[in-house]
């Protein structure tokens, strides 16, 4: 026994050591990660973020340098905080708070201490930086918007959050990332690849040379420039016309699906979201829950399309063979179904064929057509599925699957949708509002514009997109393959003729533009808001869709102006002017232009929040804007024209 005490001790200690080694090196050891290794300094080299050009090659977005003060908390040595705070222009409580936050995030990974110093502050700080161990300056590049337009198109970049870093380990604290618009949807192309050098440190935190001769280093890769389909001139013009209004304008080139302009009103200067003021400004925009400047109405606004949707019903009717272009429907200043009545602007006894039905936007004509479609086989449920299928082939009722960062599905109801509402019986009259684009139908401006582009193309469309070209790369294939609708080509002619007549003799005859054959359709959509728990009707939305010229169309667009009343009052004017601007390059209808600058709808928008009873539609008078505002807009217009 005495012989074995030491023998056993040695063996047991040996086993314990091996066990401990196993615990340290196998059980708790994660695969060695160069990023986690605090014996290596990671130096990032941020590449140039890609520039953005408009379709005519005009530079829209460039870069400007900025400097972040970074901190690695565990490397911080005691310092003269007072002097440091003065240099950074922060107070001591902010210093402590930021330091604690950085420490909580990680004691050994860098965090942003003060973001985006100006060049002047940087110059002062740079010389003194070596006094403050654990702090260093990281150069980054911020965006610089050449023109104050297209905030909703271009989007912005901002610092990544914890969630971004978790989702994609490429990012580290303080990196900038596209947050909205094309900055977000083309983030991977624009950002390039940041360079990374591993530098061996010693325990005094001194650099002692590149780690393994730099074999793990990553060379920076420049971000690629992109060209977008937006026409900056048209975009700026559209934004000017939409001042003091809310709504959206989408203009598409039908022959390619390229988005020429995408106006969301109200909008803001994209330069507001650059630099140290970003978060303050962002909060301000974000907190404006009434005007919602960050809400991209042209992509996210789901509206009942109203009368423009009649075009859809006409096309379906023709395709299903339930009407012919020449068949007439008599209007009794409305349409009677059961014991209910849908009013119409036509005089009693007017007989409309398809062209005049569209021209006069006859509710009776389309209610009849809609019922014929649904009742074709005597089964309204089957009928509505057919109807829904045709409408969806135009890209309605679902995401367009394009390269825009936000979007909405809209809504095209079908049998399933109504099953819950009408579980037992279902007749075509139940959903008669769909005939005139109200009821359960909802579209976003871009969907409606795309529908018009498909009509302009007589039966097909390209998925609307915003990328025109990428430096050294091609654009995704899905944007260059036409998508065919379920409507045969020959059925488009009477509908287009009807749209042409809208301009010639119909609801938009006051909006004609010399030498351009425009096809259009007005829309006036009832809408409601809940005010003090009472469903209250507001002034109708003004909607207009159009394309031009009639043959070889170059532009198709949809305009929504919230609470603008009838279609040609606001939306139609915007549409006509933008068509003229795009096709001719100059404006002859300066009367329309002047009217749009003169009249705004801010008072209309203020009504529901006033807490007082108010009048709508024909009982309300549209108010001109202040002279000062009008003059400001005039100034902008003048400056814009001389550019």
């Amino acid at each position: 026994m005495r012989k074995f005490l030491l023998f056993l001790s040695v063996v047991i200690v040996g086993l314990i050591f091996i066990g401990r080694l196993f615990y340290l090196q196998v059980y708790t050891s994660t695969a060695h990660n160069l990023f986690e290794d605090n014996a290596l300094r990671k130096v990032y080299d941020y590449p140039k973020r890609g520039f953005v050009y408009d379709r005519n090659g005009e530079l829209l977005v460039a870069n400007q340098p900025t400097y972040d003060v970074m901190v690695i908390p565990r490397e911080v040595k005691p310092l003269d905080t007072l002097e440091f705070c003065n240099l950074l222009k922060i107070d001591k409580s902010k210093f402590i708070e930021t330091y604690k936050k950085a420490y909580r995030y990680s004691p050994r990974l860098p965090s942003v201490f003060v973001a985006q110093l100006s060049k002047e502050d940087y110059a002062v700080l740079q010389e003194k930086m070596r006094k403050y161990e654990g702090f260093y300056i990281q150069k980054r590049s911020l965006r610089h918007y050449q023109r104050s337009i297209g905030a909703n198109v271009l989007g912005d970049i901002g610092e990544v959050g914890h969630r971004d870093i978790k989702a994609d380990p490429y990012y580290t604290m303080g990196d900038l990332k596209g947050k909205q618009g094309i900055e977000a949807s083309y983030e991977n192309i624009l950002r390039g690849v940041k360079g990374l050098k591993f530098i061996q440190k010693d325990r005094f935190n001194r650099d002692i040379g590149p780690y393994k001769e730099g074999q793990f280093d990553i060379l920076p890769e420049q971000g690629k420039d992109i060209t977008i389909t937006i026409d900056a001139e048209l975009q700026e013009y559209g934004e000017l016309l939409m001042q003091n209004k809310r709504g959206g304008v989408i203009a598409i080139e039908p022959s390619s699906g390229e988005i020429l302009a995408m106006v969301a009103a109200p909008t803001y200067d994209p330069n507001l979201l650059v630099g140290r003021e970003r978060s303050k400004n962002f909060t301000k925009l974000y907190n404006d829950t009434i005007a919602k400047p960050l809400f991209n109405r042209s992509l996210q606004g789901e509206y009942e399309p109203g009368s423009p949707f009649k075009l859809m019903n006409a096309l379906i009717g023709l395709q299903e063979g339930v009407i012919t272009p020449n068949e007439t429907v008599t209007c009794y200043a409305g349409y009677k179904y059961g014991n209910r009545f849908m009013k119409c602007h036509c005089y009693i006894g007017r007989r409309n064929n398809m062209v005049s039905g569209i021209q006069e936007s006859c509710n009776a004509y389309f209610a009849t057509t809609y019922r014929k479609i649904l009742d074709k086989n005597g089964n309204a449920s089957e009928g509505i599925d057919t109807w829904s299928k045709h409408a969806k082939s135009f890209g309605l009722g679902n995401f367009l699957n394009n390269d825009l960062y936000v979007g909405q599905k809209g809504r095209i109801p079908d049998r399933d949708y109504y099953k819950h509402v009408y579980p037992n019986t279902f007749y075509s009259t139940y959903t008669i509002s769909n005939a005139i684009g109200q009821g359960e139908v909802a579209t976003t401006p871009i969907q409606l514009a795309n529908m018009i582009a498909a009509i302009a193309n007589r039966g097909y469309y390209y998925t609307p997109h915003i990328i025109k070209s990428i430096e050294g790369d091609t654009i995704p294939k899905r944007f260059t393959i036409p998508k065919h609708t379920t409507i045969a080509k020959q059925h488009f002619d009477p509908v287009i003729e009807g749209m042409h007549q809208v301009y010639k003799n119909g609801t938009a005859k006051w909006l004609q533009v010399k030498d351009i054959d425009i096809c259009g359709k007005t829309g006036t959509v009832e809408n409601f808001a809940i005010i003090d728990s009472v469903r209250t009707q507001l002034t109708d939305h003004s909607i207009f869709v159009a394309f031009a010229p009639k043959d070889n169309p170059k532009i198709a667009l949809a305009v929504f102006v919230e609470n603008g009343y009838w279609g040609s009052r606001f939306a139609g004017k915007v549409a006509s002017l933008m068509i003229e601007k795009h096709i001719k390059g100059y404006i002859t209808r300066t009367d329309l232009e002047d009217w749009l600058l003169r009249y705004g709808l801010e008072e209309e928008y203020a009504k529901p929040y006033s807490g007082e009873p108010f009048n709508i539609n024909d009982k309300a008078i549209v108010q001109p804007v202040d002279d000062s505002e009008y003059n400001r807009l005039k100034e902008l217009l003048k400056k814009f024209k001389t550019q």
Binding site: R2, K3, L5, L6, F7, S9, V10, V11, V13, G14, I16, F17, I18, R20, L21, F22, L24, Q25, V26, T28, S29, A31, H32, D37, A39, L40, Q200, K201, D202, R203, I208, G209, Y211, K212
Partner: protein
């Protein structure tokens, strides 16, 4: 003449090979831990790895000398060697050079010599000599005291020089004495003292007293041959007294930095901020060395490839913390190999010691095994955070000429004694 030509065959080559493995592999790790640039000049005398290479080469000369000397010499002159060694320790108080707070070095020219390293071998010889004396009976209290004195003198001298680590090494002789017949009571006592100390520090005086009371009462009534009640009461008083004095010892005798080490080891400190503070100060080495070992993974980062080693993150890495280099660069496989080689070496020496015919050789061999074992236990245990920080080198592995030579002498005297066992009748 026949004896002359066959001499080298009698040396235990297994031990020698294990020795060479440790020295060679140790040097590779010293190179890794101490090289500074891309180019390595192996004979750069200003660098630890260069110096160590020269120490190693000189070691071979030393080995030849040790093996050439007659085996009987070591036994006969053990007392003189011991006395010279003790004098050299005392001389430190007059001529010693102070390094890192310990006055343990003689500076001779550009070199330093650490006599406490050699004192272990001298003490081993003296203990072997005394115990193997026919007049000595280890069961006799008087002789126990005398043996203890031989051990205590060098231990006390190095303690006074502020070299706590080397003092603790003399505890190794407990194994030797126990093997040679020290009453079992001492072993029991030692284990009880260790357990009670840990309990008392970790759980507090009161709980420890209660636990020991329950244990003693249970033992008292369960024993078949019931011990006298007075004996049990005495044991209880002893336990309670010990539990109390441990507290006193910890708080009033230990220096603050020693308290901190124990408090960290037993996880007595609960305040996370204070713990963080500890990790940055005295526990920095331990923290870095554990991290370096962990980062090695299964296969290690490769020779000269460890970022923590290259960056000199672990202070004293080429001396006391050399094992963390093995951990980082050679991984679980390499570290386990080192542990196994040490275990084999110690067991081999033990085995040989048991085969000795003379008691002197056996006791000496046992001492060699025990001393290497204690170093191995404390050093690797400390580097991996298993025992409190105690600064002693890893035998044959760590940087340092005195250490290397002292262990070479210690080991090769035994190899010589072993080779001579055929003549011991």
């Amino acid at each position: 003449m026949v004896r002359e030509t066959n001499r080298h065959f009698k040396f235990d080559w297994i031990t020698i090979i294990l020795f060479l493995l440790l020295v060679g592999f140790g040097w590779l790790n010293i190179l890794s831990a101490s090289h500074t640039g891309e180019t390595i000049d192996y004979f750069d005398f200003s660098q630890p790895y260069g110096k160590q290479l020269i120490f190693i080469l000189l070691t071979f000369g030393l080995i030849i000398i040790i093996l050439s000397i007659e085996a009987k010499f070591y036994e006969r002159f053990s007392s003189i060697i011991y006395i010279i060694s003790m004098v050299s320790l005392v001389g430190l108080f007059l001529f010693g050079k102070n390094v890192n707070g310990a006055t343990s070095w003689y500076a001779i020219g550009g070199m330093t010599l650490q006599p406490s390293e050699f004192a272990k071998a001298a003490t081993a010889l003296a203990v072997a000599k005394y115990i193997s004396d026919l007049n000595t009976d280890i069961n006799r209290f008087q002789d126990q005291i005398k043996t203890l004195a031989i051990i205590i003198i060098p231990a006390l001298l190095v303690l006074l020089q502020n070299d706590t680590g080397s003092t603790i090494v003399y505890a190794a002789f407990f194994f030797v004495l126990y093997r040679e017949g020290l009453p079992k009571m001492y072993l029991t006592l030692g284990i009880i003292v260790i357990i009670l100390s840990v309990f008392s520090l970790k759980l507090g005086f009161l709980i420890t007293s209660i636990i020991s009371a329950i244990a003693i009462v249970t033992l008292h009534f369960l024993s078949k041959k019931r011990p006298p009640i007075l004996k049990s009461i005495a044991a209880l008083i002893f336990c309670i007294g010990l539990a109390y004095s441990v507290k006193f010892f910890y708080q009033d005798i230990l220096k603050p930095h020693q308290q901190d080490r124990i408090s960290l080891w037993l996880r007595l400190e609960k305040d996370p901020e204070k713990l963080e503070q500890m990790k940055k100060t005295f526990a920095y080495n331990l923290n870095e060395s554990e991290k370096a070992i962990s980062s090695g993974g299964i296969t290690g980062r490769g020779f000269l490839e460890g970022t923590r080693t290259t960056g000199k993150f672990v202070p004293e890495q080429h001396t006391d913390y050399i094992f963390s280099t093995v951990g980082e660069e050679w991984g679980f496989l390499g570290s386990t190999m080192v542990v196994i080689v040490f275990v084999l070496l110690i067991l081999r020496i033990l085995h040989l010691a048991e085969l000795q015919k003379s008691q002197f050789s056996r006791v000496y061999g046992y001492s060699v095994a025990s001393i290497i074992f204690i170093h191995f236990l404390i050093n690797i245990g400390m580097v991996m955070g298993l025992i409190p920080t105690i600064g002693i080198p890893l035998p044959l592995f760590s940087y340092g000429g005195s250490g290397l030579w002292a262990f070479t002498i210690l080991l090769f005297i035994f190899i010589k004694l072993d080779s001579n066992k055929i003549n011991e009748w």
